[in-house]
Protein backbone atom coordinates (compact mmCIF):
# COMPACT_ATOMS: atom_id res chain seq x y z
CA UNK A 1 0.00 0.00 0.00
CA UNK A 2 2.71 2.48 1.05
CA UNK A 3 4.81 1.37 -1.91
CA UNK A 4 1.89 2.00 -4.25
CA UNK A 5 1.33 5.48 -2.86
CA UNK A 6 5.06 6.14 -3.16
CA UNK A 7 5.12 5.01 -6.80
CA UNK A 8 2.09 7.21 -7.57
CA UNK A 9 3.79 10.12 -5.85
CA UNK A 10 7.02 9.65 -7.82
CA UNK A 11 5.07 9.30 -11.04
CA UNK A 12 3.13 12.52 -10.26
CA UNK A 13 6.28 14.50 -9.50
CA UNK A 14 8.01 13.14 -12.58
CA UNK A 15 5.03 14.04 -14.80
CA UNK A 16 4.94 17.50 -13.27
CA UNK A 17 8.63 17.88 -14.13
CA UNK A 18 8.04 16.70 -17.70
CA UNK A 19 5.14 19.13 -18.05
CA UNK A 20 7.26 22.02 -16.76
CA UNK A 21 10.08 21.22 -19.20
CA UNK A 22 7.58 20.82 -22.04
CA UNK A 23 5.98 24.21 -21.25
CA UNK A 24 9.34 25.96 -20.92
CA UNK A 25 10.64 24.44 -24.18
CA UNK A 26 7.42 25.38 -25.97
CA UNK A 27 7.49 28.96 -24.71
CA UNK A 28 11.15 29.25 -25.67
CA UNK A 29 10.67 27.74 -29.10
CA UNK A 30 8.44 30.53 -30.46
CA UNK A 31 11.24 32.32 -32.27
CA UNK A 32 12.48 29.09 -33.87
CA UNK A 33 9.32 28.91 -35.96
CA UNK A 34 8.34 30.97 -38.99
CA UNK A 35 5.18 32.89 -39.88
CA UNK A 36 4.59 33.58 -36.19
CA UNK A 37 1.95 36.27 -36.64
CA UNK A 38 -0.12 34.05 -38.93
CA UNK A 39 0.07 31.12 -36.50
CA UNK A 40 -0.67 33.34 -33.52
CA UNK A 41 -3.77 34.79 -35.19
CA UNK A 42 -5.02 31.33 -36.08
CA UNK A 43 -4.51 30.19 -32.48
CA UNK A 44 -6.23 33.32 -31.16
CA UNK A 45 -9.17 32.51 -33.42
CA UNK A 46 -9.33 28.90 -32.13
CA UNK A 47 -8.86 29.68 -28.45
CA UNK A 48 -10.33 33.16 -28.24
CA UNK A 49 -12.86 34.04 -30.93
CA UNK A 50 -14.55 30.63 -31.02
CA UNK A 51 -14.96 30.65 -27.24
CA UNK A 52 -16.66 34.05 -27.05
CA UNK A 53 -20.26 32.76 -27.37
CA UNK A 54 -19.91 30.10 -24.67
CA UNK A 55 -18.11 32.56 -22.37
CA UNK A 56 -20.87 35.16 -22.77
CA UNK A 57 -23.68 32.64 -22.25
CA UNK A 58 -22.11 31.10 -19.14
CA UNK A 59 -21.19 34.57 -17.84
CA UNK A 60 -24.73 35.82 -18.23
CA UNK A 61 -26.33 32.84 -16.47
CA UNK A 62 -23.73 32.91 -13.72
CA UNK A 63 -24.54 36.58 -13.09
CA UNK A 64 -28.27 35.87 -13.14
CA UNK A 65 -27.99 33.04 -10.61
CA UNK A 66 -25.53 34.93 -8.45
CA UNK A 67 -27.83 37.98 -8.38
CA UNK A 68 -30.73 35.79 -7.31
CA UNK A 69 -28.86 33.80 -4.65
CA UNK A 70 -27.05 36.76 -3.13
CA UNK A 71 -30.23 38.85 -3.09
CA UNK A 72 -31.99 36.30 -0.86
CA UNK A 73 -28.95 35.97 1.42
CA UNK A 74 -28.52 39.74 1.71
CA UNK A 75 -32.26 40.29 2.31
CA UNK A 76 -31.90 38.30 5.55
CA UNK A 77 -29.52 40.98 6.80
CA UNK A 78 -31.45 43.84 5.14
CA UNK A 79 -28.38 44.53 3.03
CA UNK A 80 -29.76 44.23 -0.51
CA UNK A 81 -27.97 47.42 -1.42
CA UNK A 82 -24.71 45.48 -1.19
CA UNK A 83 -25.77 43.21 -4.08
CA UNK A 84 -23.65 45.01 -6.71
CA UNK A 85 -20.54 44.74 -4.56
CA UNK A 86 -21.12 41.06 -3.75
CA UNK A 87 -21.81 40.10 -7.36
CA UNK A 88 -18.91 42.10 -8.81
CA UNK A 89 -16.26 40.97 -6.32
CA UNK A 90 -17.31 37.30 -6.54
CA UNK A 91 -17.18 37.39 -10.31
CA UNK A 92 -14.05 39.49 -10.80
CA UNK A 93 -11.91 37.72 -8.22
CA UNK A 94 -13.11 34.12 -8.33
CA UNK A 95 -15.90 32.99 -10.57
CA UNK A 96 -14.91 34.91 -13.70
CA UNK A 97 -11.36 33.56 -14.12
CA UNK A 98 -12.29 30.02 -12.95
CA UNK A 99 -15.45 29.55 -15.05
CA UNK A 100 -13.91 31.16 -18.12
CA UNK A 101 -10.89 28.86 -17.90
CA UNK A 102 -13.10 25.77 -17.47
CA UNK A 103 -15.22 26.81 -20.46
CA UNK A 104 -12.15 27.37 -22.67
CA UNK A 105 -10.70 24.03 -21.60
CA UNK A 106 -13.99 22.32 -22.47
CA UNK A 107 -14.08 23.84 -25.92
CA UNK A 108 -10.59 24.77 -27.11
CA UNK A 109 -8.42 22.68 -24.75
CA UNK A 110 -10.09 19.39 -25.59
CA UNK A 111 -9.90 20.20 -29.32
CA UNK A 112 -6.21 21.08 -28.98
CA UNK A 113 -5.42 17.85 -27.15
CA UNK A 114 -7.35 15.71 -29.65
CA UNK A 115 -5.83 17.47 -32.67
CA UNK A 116 -2.24 17.05 -31.49
CA UNK A 117 -2.98 13.45 -30.39
CA UNK A 118 -4.29 12.58 -33.85
CA UNK A 119 -1.27 14.25 -35.42
CA UNK A 120 0.96 12.12 -33.21
CA UNK A 121 -0.84 8.92 -34.22
CA UNK A 122 -0.74 9.85 -37.90
CA UNK A 123 3.06 10.30 -37.59
CA UNK A 124 2.71 13.98 -38.54
CA UNK A 125 4.84 15.02 -35.55
CA UNK A 126 7.57 12.58 -36.64
CA UNK A 127 7.21 13.95 -40.17
CA UNK A 128 7.86 17.47 -38.86
CA UNK A 129 11.01 16.24 -37.12
CA UNK A 130 12.29 14.56 -40.29
CA UNK A 131 11.63 17.82 -42.16
CA UNK A 132 13.70 19.55 -39.44
CA UNK A 133 10.73 21.63 -38.32
CA UNK A 134 10.49 22.03 -34.55
CA UNK A 135 7.11 20.47 -33.60
CA UNK A 136 6.89 22.54 -30.43
CA UNK A 137 7.41 25.78 -32.34
CA UNK A 138 5.00 24.67 -35.04
CA UNK A 139 2.19 23.17 -32.96
CA UNK A 140 2.40 24.20 -29.31
CA UNK A 141 4.13 27.53 -28.85
CA UNK A 142 1.68 29.75 -30.81
CA UNK A 143 -1.19 28.24 -28.82
CA UNK A 144 0.48 28.91 -25.48
CA UNK A 145 1.03 32.57 -26.36
CA UNK A 146 -2.47 32.84 -27.78
CA UNK A 147 -3.84 31.46 -24.49
CA UNK A 148 -1.92 34.14 -22.58
CA UNK A 149 -3.66 36.76 -24.70
CA UNK A 150 -7.15 35.20 -24.86
CA UNK A 151 -7.74 34.02 -21.28
CA UNK A 152 -7.63 37.53 -19.69
CA UNK A 153 -9.73 39.05 -22.50
CA UNK A 154 -12.40 36.36 -22.26
CA UNK A 155 -12.32 36.68 -18.48
CA UNK A 156 -13.02 40.39 -18.88
CA UNK A 157 -15.98 39.57 -21.15
CA UNK A 158 -17.25 37.08 -18.59
CA UNK A 159 -16.91 39.65 -15.78
CA UNK A 160 -18.84 42.34 -17.66
CA UNK A 161 -21.66 40.04 -18.76
CA UNK A 162 -21.81 38.45 -15.29
CA UNK A 163 -22.20 41.84 -13.60
CA UNK A 164 -24.90 42.75 -16.13
CA UNK A 165 -26.61 39.43 -15.35
CA UNK A 166 -26.57 40.27 -11.63
CA UNK A 167 -28.06 43.67 -12.50
CA UNK A 168 -30.79 42.00 -14.55
CA UNK A 169 -31.91 39.82 -11.65
CA UNK A 170 -31.24 42.21 -8.76
CA UNK A 171 -32.32 45.54 -10.25
CA UNK A 172 -34.71 44.72 -13.10
CA UNK A 173 -36.48 41.76 -11.52
CA UNK A 174 -36.12 42.05 -7.74
CA UNK A 175 -36.18 45.82 -7.37
CA UNK A 176 -32.76 46.65 -5.92
CA UNK A 177 -31.98 50.32 -6.42
CA UNK A 178 -30.00 50.77 -9.64
CA UNK A 179 -27.88 53.63 -8.28
CA UNK A 180 -26.96 51.57 -5.21
CA UNK A 181 -26.02 48.59 -7.42
CA UNK A 182 -23.58 50.54 -9.61
CA UNK A 183 -22.34 52.81 -6.84
CA UNK A 184 -21.41 49.84 -4.63
CA UNK A 185 -19.47 48.29 -7.49
CA UNK A 186 -17.70 51.60 -8.18
CA UNK A 187 -16.78 52.04 -4.52
CA UNK A 188 -15.71 48.49 -3.71
CA UNK A 189 -13.96 47.12 -6.78
CA UNK A 190 -10.37 48.29 -6.89
CA UNK A 191 -7.80 47.96 -9.65
CA UNK A 192 -6.06 45.44 -7.45
CA UNK A 193 -9.11 43.15 -7.56
CA UNK A 194 -9.18 43.36 -11.35
CA UNK A 195 -5.42 42.77 -11.57
CA UNK A 196 -5.68 39.69 -9.28
CA UNK A 197 -8.41 38.28 -11.52
CA UNK A 198 -6.22 38.76 -14.58
CA UNK A 199 -3.21 37.19 -12.86
CA UNK A 200 -5.36 34.12 -12.29
CA UNK A 201 -6.55 34.15 -15.90
CA UNK A 202 -2.95 34.29 -17.15
CA UNK A 203 -1.91 31.41 -14.88
CA UNK A 204 -4.91 29.30 -15.91
CA UNK A 205 -4.24 30.00 -19.58
CA UNK A 206 -0.63 28.88 -19.39
CA UNK A 207 -1.25 25.83 -17.20
CA UNK A 208 -4.33 24.44 -18.96
CA UNK A 209 -3.03 24.95 -22.49
CA UNK A 210 0.26 23.32 -21.52
CA UNK A 211 -1.59 20.34 -19.97
CA UNK A 212 -3.84 19.87 -23.02
CA UNK A 213 -0.96 20.14 -25.50
CA UNK A 214 1.22 17.86 -23.34
CA UNK A 215 -1.42 15.13 -23.15
CA UNK A 216 -1.96 15.24 -26.91
CA UNK A 217 1.73 15.43 -27.77
CA UNK A 218 2.55 12.36 -25.68
CA UNK A 219 -0.64 10.44 -26.40
CA UNK A 220 1.47 7.48 -27.63
CA UNK A 221 3.06 7.07 -24.19
CA UNK A 222 0.33 8.47 -21.90
CA UNK A 223 -2.60 6.41 -23.21
CA UNK A 224 -2.97 2.78 -22.18
CA UNK A 225 -4.35 1.86 -25.61
CA UNK A 226 -3.17 3.05 -29.02
CA UNK A 227 -5.21 4.67 -31.78
CA UNK A 228 -8.51 6.53 -31.54
CA UNK A 229 -9.29 5.21 -28.05
CA UNK A 230 -5.90 6.40 -26.87
CA UNK A 231 -6.61 9.89 -28.18
CA UNK A 232 -10.03 9.88 -26.49
CA UNK A 233 -8.36 8.76 -23.25
CA UNK A 234 -5.73 11.50 -23.29
CA UNK A 235 -8.28 14.14 -24.31
CA UNK A 236 -10.49 13.21 -21.37
CA UNK A 237 -7.46 13.22 -19.09
CA UNK A 238 -6.43 16.63 -20.42
CA UNK A 239 -9.83 18.12 -19.54
CA UNK A 240 -9.98 16.49 -16.10
CA UNK A 241 -6.41 17.42 -15.16
CA UNK A 242 -6.88 20.96 -16.45
CA UNK A 243 -10.04 21.40 -14.38
CA UNK A 244 -8.30 20.11 -11.26
CA UNK A 245 -5.29 22.32 -12.01
CA UNK A 246 -7.55 25.37 -12.35
CA UNK A 247 -9.12 24.81 -8.93
CA UNK A 248 -5.83 23.93 -7.22
CA UNK A 249 -4.05 26.93 -8.75
CA UNK A 250 -7.00 29.13 -7.85
CA UNK A 251 -6.68 28.12 -4.22
CA UNK A 252 -2.92 28.73 -4.17
CA UNK A 253 -3.17 32.05 -5.98
CA UNK A 254 -6.09 33.25 -3.86
CA UNK A 255 -4.25 32.53 -0.62
CA UNK A 256 -1.13 34.19 -1.99
CA UNK A 257 -2.90 37.25 -3.44
CA UNK A 258 -5.13 37.82 -0.40
CA UNK A 259 -2.12 37.76 1.91
CA UNK A 260 -0.35 40.52 -0.01
Amino acid sequence: MIGRIGRKGISFVSELGELTLFSASSLGSLLRGRHLVEKLFRAIYEIGVRCIPITLIVGLFTGLVLGLQLYYVLTKFSSESLLGQAVALSIIMEIGPVFTAIMIVGQAGSALSAEIGIQRNAEQIDALKTMRIDPLAFLVSPRLYAALICFPILTAFFDIVGILGGHLTGVSMLGVDEGAYWNRIYESVSLRNVRDGFIKALAFGLITTAICAFQGYFTHVKASVPGARGVSQTTTRAVVLSSIAILATDYLLTSFLLEK
Binding site: E123, Q124, T130, R132, I133, F138
Partner: protein, 242 residues
Protein backbone atom coordinates in the same frame (compact mmCIF):
# COMPACT_ATOMS: atom_id res chain seq x y z
CA UNK B 1 29.83 -1.85 -56.19
CA UNK B 2 30.12 1.92 -56.70
CA UNK B 3 31.84 4.28 -54.24
CA UNK B 4 30.36 4.24 -50.77
CA UNK B 5 28.47 7.42 -49.94
CA UNK B 6 27.06 6.50 -46.56
CA UNK B 7 29.00 4.11 -44.36
CA UNK B 8 27.28 2.75 -41.26
CA UNK B 9 29.47 1.02 -38.71
CA UNK B 10 28.48 -0.73 -35.48
CA UNK B 11 25.06 0.90 -35.25
CA UNK B 12 23.22 -0.46 -32.19
CA UNK B 13 19.86 0.29 -30.66
CA UNK B 14 18.13 -1.37 -27.75
CA UNK B 15 14.82 -0.76 -26.01
CA UNK B 16 15.25 -1.85 -22.40
CA UNK B 17 16.63 -5.39 -22.55
CA UNK B 18 15.56 -5.92 -26.14
CA UNK B 19 18.46 -5.52 -28.57
CA UNK B 20 16.92 -4.45 -31.88
CA UNK B 21 20.01 -3.44 -33.81
CA UNK B 22 23.23 -5.17 -32.86
CA UNK B 23 26.29 -3.47 -34.37
CA UNK B 24 24.91 -3.01 -37.88
CA UNK B 25 27.39 -2.43 -40.72
CA UNK B 26 26.12 -1.20 -44.07
CA UNK B 27 27.54 0.70 -47.04
CA UNK B 28 25.26 2.78 -49.24
CA UNK B 29 26.62 3.91 -52.62
CA UNK B 30 25.68 7.33 -54.02
CA UNK B 31 22.48 7.45 -56.11
CA UNK B 32 21.82 3.79 -55.42
CA UNK B 33 18.72 1.99 -54.19
CA UNK B 34 19.21 -0.21 -51.13
CA UNK B 35 16.37 -2.32 -49.79
CA UNK B 36 16.37 -3.66 -46.26
CA UNK B 37 14.33 -6.85 -45.98
CA UNK B 38 13.49 -8.99 -42.97
CA UNK B 39 10.68 -10.37 -40.85
CA UNK B 40 8.05 -8.06 -39.35
CA UNK B 41 9.12 -6.46 -36.10
CA UNK B 42 12.79 -7.27 -36.64
CA UNK B 43 13.90 -3.61 -36.50
CA UNK B 44 13.96 -2.45 -40.13
CA UNK B 45 11.99 0.73 -39.41
CA UNK B 46 14.14 1.32 -36.30
CA UNK B 47 17.19 1.35 -38.60
CA UNK B 48 15.55 4.00 -40.82
CA UNK B 49 14.51 6.04 -37.78
CA UNK B 50 18.10 5.95 -36.47
CA UNK B 51 19.35 7.20 -39.84
CA UNK B 52 16.75 9.96 -40.01
CA UNK B 53 17.41 11.17 -36.46
CA UNK B 54 13.97 10.21 -35.16
CA UNK B 55 15.71 7.75 -32.80
CA UNK B 56 19.13 8.16 -31.25
CA UNK B 57 21.29 5.07 -31.71
CA UNK B 58 22.99 3.77 -28.56
CA UNK B 59 26.31 3.36 -30.34
CA UNK B 60 27.88 3.22 -33.77
CA UNK B 61 29.17 5.63 -36.33
CA UNK B 62 27.92 7.03 -39.59
CA UNK B 63 30.38 8.30 -42.21
CA UNK B 64 29.09 10.55 -44.95
CA UNK B 65 31.48 10.70 -47.88
CA UNK B 66 34.17 9.48 -45.50
CA UNK B 67 33.48 12.15 -42.86
CA UNK B 68 32.61 10.60 -39.48
CA UNK B 69 29.67 11.85 -37.39
CA UNK B 70 28.05 13.70 -40.29
CA UNK B 71 24.48 12.67 -40.92
CA UNK B 72 23.07 12.98 -44.42
CA UNK B 73 20.19 15.31 -45.25
CA UNK B 74 17.43 12.71 -45.26
CA UNK B 75 13.80 12.87 -46.18
CA UNK B 76 11.51 10.23 -44.74
CA UNK B 77 8.56 8.66 -46.52
CA UNK B 78 6.18 7.25 -43.93
CA UNK B 79 4.09 4.12 -44.46
CA UNK B 80 0.86 6.12 -44.21
CA UNK B 81 2.42 9.21 -45.85
CA UNK B 82 1.96 11.45 -42.76
CA UNK B 83 0.42 14.25 -44.82
CA UNK B 84 -1.25 17.11 -42.96
CA UNK B 85 -4.93 16.40 -43.54
CA UNK B 86 -6.10 19.98 -42.87
CA UNK B 87 -3.74 21.39 -45.49
CA UNK B 88 -4.14 21.22 -49.26
CA UNK B 89 -1.74 19.29 -51.47
CA UNK B 90 0.02 22.56 -52.38
CA UNK B 91 0.40 23.56 -48.73
CA UNK B 92 1.71 20.09 -47.83
CA UNK B 93 4.38 20.25 -50.53
CA UNK B 94 5.33 23.82 -49.58
CA UNK B 95 5.48 23.11 -45.83
CA UNK B 96 9.22 22.29 -45.42
CA UNK B 97 10.27 25.34 -47.46
CA UNK B 98 7.81 27.68 -45.79
CA UNK B 99 8.82 26.61 -42.30
CA UNK B 100 12.55 26.26 -42.76
CA UNK B 101 13.87 28.65 -45.33
CA UNK B 102 13.75 32.38 -45.83
CA UNK B 103 12.15 32.39 -49.21
CA UNK B 104 9.95 34.88 -51.01
CA UNK B 105 6.39 33.93 -51.88
CA UNK B 106 7.32 34.14 -55.58
CA UNK B 107 10.24 31.71 -55.26
CA UNK B 108 8.19 29.40 -53.06
CA UNK B 109 5.39 29.28 -55.63
CA UNK B 110 7.87 28.70 -58.43
CA UNK B 111 9.59 25.79 -56.69
CA UNK B 112 6.38 24.15 -55.51
CA UNK B 113 4.60 24.58 -58.84
CA UNK B 114 7.52 23.19 -60.81
CA UNK B 115 7.76 20.12 -58.57
CA UNK B 116 4.01 19.61 -58.58
CA UNK B 117 4.16 19.68 -62.37
CA UNK B 118 7.02 17.17 -62.53
CA UNK B 119 5.12 14.78 -60.28
CA UNK B 120 1.90 15.27 -62.26
CA UNK B 121 -0.08 16.68 -59.38
CA UNK B 122 -1.29 19.91 -61.04
CA UNK B 123 -4.95 18.88 -60.88
CA UNK B 124 -4.79 18.06 -57.18
CA UNK B 125 -3.10 21.16 -55.74
CA UNK B 126 -6.26 22.57 -54.16
CA UNK B 127 -7.50 19.25 -52.85
CA UNK B 128 -7.06 17.88 -49.35
CA UNK B 129 -5.28 14.53 -48.83
CA UNK B 130 -8.62 12.84 -48.03
CA UNK B 131 -9.87 13.79 -51.51
CA UNK B 132 -7.12 12.12 -53.53
CA UNK B 133 -6.19 8.50 -54.28
CA UNK B 134 -3.59 6.44 -52.39
CA UNK B 135 -1.12 6.63 -55.30
CA UNK B 136 -1.50 10.40 -55.46
CA UNK B 137 -0.93 10.67 -51.72
CA UNK B 138 2.36 8.82 -52.19
CA UNK B 139 3.33 11.30 -54.92
CA UNK B 140 2.41 14.23 -52.68
CA UNK B 141 4.53 12.76 -49.87
CA UNK B 142 7.37 12.29 -52.36
CA UNK B 143 6.98 15.88 -53.59
CA UNK B 144 7.14 17.11 -50.00
CA UNK B 145 10.27 15.00 -49.49
CA UNK B 146 11.90 16.27 -52.71
CA UNK B 147 11.18 19.97 -52.24
CA UNK B 148 14.27 20.47 -50.05
CA UNK B 149 16.54 18.50 -52.43
CA UNK B 150 17.51 15.76 -49.94
CA UNK B 151 20.55 13.57 -50.54
CA UNK B 152 18.82 10.44 -49.31
CA UNK B 153 15.16 9.45 -49.17
CA UNK B 154 14.17 6.78 -46.66
CA UNK B 155 11.09 4.79 -47.66
CA UNK B 156 9.35 2.91 -44.86
CA UNK B 157 7.34 0.10 -46.47
CA UNK B 158 5.88 2.30 -49.20
CA UNK B 159 3.63 -0.44 -50.61
CA UNK B 160 1.96 -1.65 -47.42
CA UNK B 161 -1.70 -2.44 -47.99
CA UNK B 162 -1.61 -1.92 -51.77
CA UNK B 163 -2.81 -4.42 -54.36
CA UNK B 164 -0.16 -5.92 -56.72
CA UNK B 165 -0.93 -3.48 -59.54
CA UNK B 166 -0.58 -0.40 -57.33
CA UNK B 167 2.47 -1.93 -55.68
CA UNK B 168 4.25 -2.10 -59.02
CA UNK B 169 3.19 1.43 -59.90
CA UNK B 170 4.67 2.71 -56.60
CA UNK B 171 7.93 0.84 -57.30
CA UNK B 172 7.92 2.23 -60.81
CA UNK B 173 7.33 5.73 -59.45
CA UNK B 174 10.30 5.40 -57.05
CA UNK B 175 12.55 4.07 -59.81
CA UNK B 176 11.63 6.71 -62.37
CA UNK B 177 11.84 9.66 -59.97
CA UNK B 178 15.17 8.41 -58.60
CA UNK B 179 16.53 8.32 -62.13
CA UNK B 180 15.14 11.78 -62.81
CA UNK B 181 16.09 13.54 -59.54
CA UNK B 182 19.19 11.49 -58.70
CA UNK B 183 18.63 10.83 -55.00
CA UNK B 184 19.81 7.85 -52.98
CA UNK B 185 17.13 5.48 -51.71
CA UNK B 186 17.14 3.35 -48.59
CA UNK B 187 13.92 1.41 -48.44
CA UNK B 188 12.37 -1.05 -46.05
CA UNK B 189 10.08 -3.53 -47.77
CA UNK B 190 8.31 -6.84 -47.33
CA UNK B 191 7.70 -7.22 -51.01
CA UNK B 192 10.19 -9.89 -52.00
CA UNK B 193 10.96 -10.80 -54.69
CA UNK B 194 9.02 -7.94 -56.42
CA UNK B 195 11.33 -5.28 -54.95
CA UNK B 196 14.40 -6.99 -56.49
CA UNK B 197 13.36 -5.52 -59.84
CA UNK B 198 14.12 -1.93 -58.76
CA UNK B 199 16.81 -2.23 -56.11
CA UNK B 200 20.59 -2.16 -56.56
CA UNK B 201 21.40 -3.94 -53.33
CA UNK B 202 19.59 -5.98 -50.74
CA UNK B 203 20.37 -6.06 -47.02
CA UNK B 204 18.77 -8.81 -44.97
CA UNK B 205 18.24 -7.86 -41.34
CA UNK B 206 17.81 -10.75 -38.95
CA UNK B 207 18.28 -11.00 -35.17
CA UNK B 208 19.66 -7.46 -35.02
CA UNK B 209 22.39 -8.07 -37.65
CA UNK B 210 22.73 -7.55 -41.38
CA UNK B 211 23.22 -11.19 -42.36
CA UNK B 212 23.28 -10.72 -46.11
CA UNK B 213 24.23 -7.74 -48.17
CA UNK B 214 24.65 -7.79 -51.93
CA UNK B 215 23.00 -7.35 -55.28
CA UNK B 216 19.65 -9.00 -55.99
CA UNK B 217 21.23 -10.87 -58.92
CA UNK B 218 23.79 -12.49 -56.61
CA UNK B 219 21.04 -13.25 -54.15
CA UNK B 220 18.95 -15.05 -56.74
CA UNK B 221 21.91 -17.10 -57.98
CA UNK B 222 23.22 -18.28 -54.62
CA UNK B 223 21.18 -17.23 -51.60
CA UNK B 224 22.49 -18.26 -48.18
CA UNK B 225 20.38 -21.16 -46.79
CA UNK B 226 18.90 -19.09 -43.93
CA UNK B 227 17.84 -16.32 -46.30
CA UNK B 228 16.41 -18.83 -48.75
CA UNK B 229 14.15 -20.07 -45.96
CA UNK B 230 12.97 -16.48 -45.44
CA UNK B 231 12.45 -15.86 -49.15
CA UNK B 232 10.69 -19.17 -49.85
CA UNK B 233 8.97 -20.21 -46.63
CA UNK B 234 6.74 -22.70 -48.50
CA UNK B 235 9.68 -24.49 -50.12
CA UNK B 236 11.50 -24.54 -46.85
CA UNK B 237 8.57 -26.03 -44.91
CA UNK B 238 8.04 -28.64 -47.68
CA UNK B 239 11.67 -29.70 -47.59
CA UNK B 240 11.71 -29.95 -43.80
CA UNK B 241 8.47 -32.04 -43.92
CA UNK B 242 10.01 -34.39 -46.51
Amino acid sequence: MKNTYLRIRGLSKRFGDLVVLDAIDLDIPLNSHTTVIGKSGIGKSVLLKCLSGLLMPDSGEVFLDGTPGKFPQCAYMFQQNALFDSQTVWENVALPLRERERISQKDLSHRVNSLVEQLELENAVDKYPAEISGGMKKRVALARALITNPEIILFDEPTTGLDPERKFSVFDMIRSYRERFGFTVIMVSHDVPEVFGITDQVAWLDAGKIKYWGSPEDLEISPPPELEAFLNPKLSSQSSAA
